[in-house]
Amino acid sequence: MIPSVPRTRLFDALYLAYLVAFFIYLALPLAVTAVFAFNDAPFPSLPWQGFTMDWYLADGTAGRTGLFHDDTLLSALWTSTRIALWVTLVSVALGCINAVLFERLEFPGKELLYLLMLLPLVIPGVILGVSILVFYSGMANDLSRQWGIELDVFRPGLTLVIMGQVTFITTLTTLVIAARLRKFDRQLEEAALNLGATPLVAWFTVTLPWLAPSLFGAAAMAFLMSFENFNTTVMLTGSDTPLTVALFNRLREGSTPVLNAVALFLMVVSALLALLSVRRNR
């Protein structure tokens, strides 16, 4: 089954059919979600009632509230953006530090610590959320009960959501940045040192520019993963609900095309972000 091994016509035809079926399977759910964002009907289902922008623009006067006038969804969008920005910042910084630590330095126990670094990948997302809830929120409860100290940062809310997401996203950013650092030719850095640069200057003028594409890649990935995360977030969220949780709550009440409008909006934003990071990597 490689180009140099003869195949029968029938096999080729079947293989092609399978490929086509696979890509239809991939595209179908997203395509219908996108299309029904513009259907002029109160439910996202057939028959097609004509094109409308109501699910984005309606201001609530005609019984329909579009995404851009829906305060709950807009504030959830803003909450998610704030969380994602913090998570990106922290996890890319930590990832960069971890990458240098594991690729450049030798120290006792390195093997073990490397395994610990990979650990969050094999912990179910819900458990990551639950353990952080138990530890920090439990601590806040105990402090409040025993000494009357109120530690509201550790109550379910933005801080805990950010902490929960940083836990596993840092492992991913570390792997992305470390992969790039591994390919770095250390002679370049030595050349800079020979030419009189201090280690710090060599790092900022030679190594960091080399890492830049992976930093952007890791940042885009971290932002998307944070924005889209549900399983860890749902355990830690407080009164400020992030978008995925707000959408989930809406969806349980019943679906309206506003959800399709949000979905399409998110798809476009993530596609742009993905394209941007691909372009930077070229």
Binding site: N98, G125, S131, F135, A263
Partner: protein, 286 residues
């Protein structure tokens, strides 16, 4: 001998790493384990005991869901591997040039949308008032609306869909590095398609297979969203019970015990998978 500068940089780089791993991973999980051994006697008195674990074993609903979730996650992972392998093979070995890049990008497209959006898309397609039902009726294959959502098959369709990317990417990466000579040699030595696949291709792709399977399995087992939205009354997922204990009932002790059990199950299966295939976590993940 280490110079003071190396020492200093080691300390400076090691501190953030240790803070992250100790404060966000190790301590919270130890605390979860500790709480799972607590028994609440009244609102402010606690004692130690195995009651939470005893509840799990005596309440058949708990352990049935537990076993079901484990088995269905393994099945979903296996199905994802079967579906993804021919695709990865085509992208890595048969497609060339532009087609290759485009097909690979096409595989990534669903992941521009979140799990929630993907699940919602499937709900629009599968439910009673959904598109498949409408199409079946339009074609005359069905007299009334057909409900295809809220059953195990729907949950598996959604979970496989969620996992595909994480299977295709590592498979393409490992298959890409394979020497075509190896496969040719297999055929020259008289092997049929299946023999070559079993003796040459699969062993070569094993790191990618294991890596993809671990990620997909973890995503599936830890999923809350897809089983909740697409599953029916009989398709409970274990994460839902953890959620119920923590968020609805405020019974943290019971929830922590259920969480510890799920963590134990996932660690055990990942460990067994690595041992059976002779891979190491470092090799397949790092």
């Amino acid at each position: 001998m280490k110079s003071p500068a190396t020492r200093l940089s080691l300390i400076l780089l090691l501190t953030p790493f240790l803070l992250w791993i100790v404060l966000l991973v190790i301590l919270p999980h130890l605390q979860m384990l500790r709480v799972s051994f607590q028994v609440r006697e009244s609102w402010d008195t606690l004692s130690w005991g195995l009651e939470q674990y005893a509840n799990f074993f005596s309440e058949s609903y708990y352990w049935r869901t537990f076993v079901r979730t484990g088995v269905m996650s393994l099945f979903t992972t296996f199905l994802t591997l079967l579906i993804a392998f021919p695709i990865a093979w085509y992208i890595a070995r048969l497609a060339s040039g532009r087609a290759r890049g485009l097909l690979f990008l096409a595989c990534l497209i669903p992941f521009w949308a979140s799990e929630l959006v993907r699940t919602y898309g499937w709900m629009i397609l599968l439910r009673e008032s959904g598109l498949f039902s409408a199409w079946l009726q339009a074609l005359g294959w069905s007299d009334g609306p057909v409900e295809m959502l809220y059953n195990d098959a729907a949950v598996i369709i959604g979970l496989v869909y969620n996992g595909l990317l994480f299977m295709v990417v590592p498979l393409v990466t490992t298959l890409d590095g394979m020497e075509e000579n190896l496969v040719e040699a297999g055929y020259d030595l008289g092997g049929g398609h299946l023999t070559v696949l079993r003796e040459v291709v699969v062993p070569w792709a094993m790191p990618g297979i294991v890596s993809g399977c671990i990620v997909v399995f973890m995503l599936t087992l830890g999923s809350y969203l897809t089983p909740t939205l697409m599953g029916g009354k009989d398709s409970a997922w274990f994460t839902q019970q953890i959620f119920t204990q923590f968020i609805t009932r405020f019974n943290w002790e019971q929830g922590a015990a259920l969480g510890a059990l799920l963590l134990g199950l996932s660690s055990l299966i990942v460990w067994a998978g690595l041992k059976l295939t002779g891979q190491s976590l470092r090799k397949v993940m790092g």
